[in-house]
Subunit: 124 residues, 2 copies
């Protein structure tokens, strides 16, 4: 295949429930993680659901980050997609994992691009 | 596992190159596809790169849509993530495929949630 980007699909369990319901803190964690890992932020939208949960997407020059939280289950889904060389996805992921205080992490790395048969996943 | 959402990872090839470089049209295609398929849009950000390419993320009550385009390669990456029952992901995907005039599509469906070993992908 002709790879054009790398996509990390991450399930974060056993997170801090208070953090997962705090829109302002989640926005800070995500935008800091992105910019400190080399991404250029070009837009973002964050939303607090009533009664519970936060969703956030960050558009970056290198592609995007997306987070959706289920505080009642101590769970957050995280996506980090990059097509740039200067953005360190794994560093960004580690900053989000630490920010959410997750102690159980499942990850899948997918190469994105042309002639993709999705045979190149790495699961950890 | 305890599934909380469904994530479609889609590679669109052989798209219309002019459409892939038209930010306004891409925003129209994505937001129409989302709302006509039952999603509630809560925010979005679209960006035109110089000299070429568009990125767009749409935050929806049910999770998110993200698109990144490489017009010079007639390729776009598409992500559709939903945790809601009223949002028809496949209908949304079909509308985007038709909107971009893609004639080569690769898809992977991933269940997202707790105790995920990522063993439940469906590739087509």
């Amino acid at each position: 295949m002709h790879s054009l980007g790398t996509h990390l699909i991450i399930e974060l369990e056993k997170c801090n429930q208070n953090i997962l319901d705090d829109k302002v803190l989640i926005e800070t964690i995500l935008t800091n993680a992105a910019s400190e890992s080399g991404a250029q932020i070009i837009g973002s939208t964050f939303h607090k659901f009533i009664p519970i949960g936060v969703t956030g997407v960050v558009s970056i020059s290198e592609s995007h980050l997306a987070v959706h939280t289920w505080p009642e289950l101590s769970y957050a889904s995280v996506d980090i997609f990059s097509c740039g060389d200067n953005f360190n996805l794994n560093e960004c992921a580690q900053k989000i994992i630490r920010g959410f205080q997750s102690t159980k992490v499942s990850k899948m790395k997918i190469d994105r691009g042309i002639d993709n048969k999705f045979s190149n996943q790495e699961i950890s």
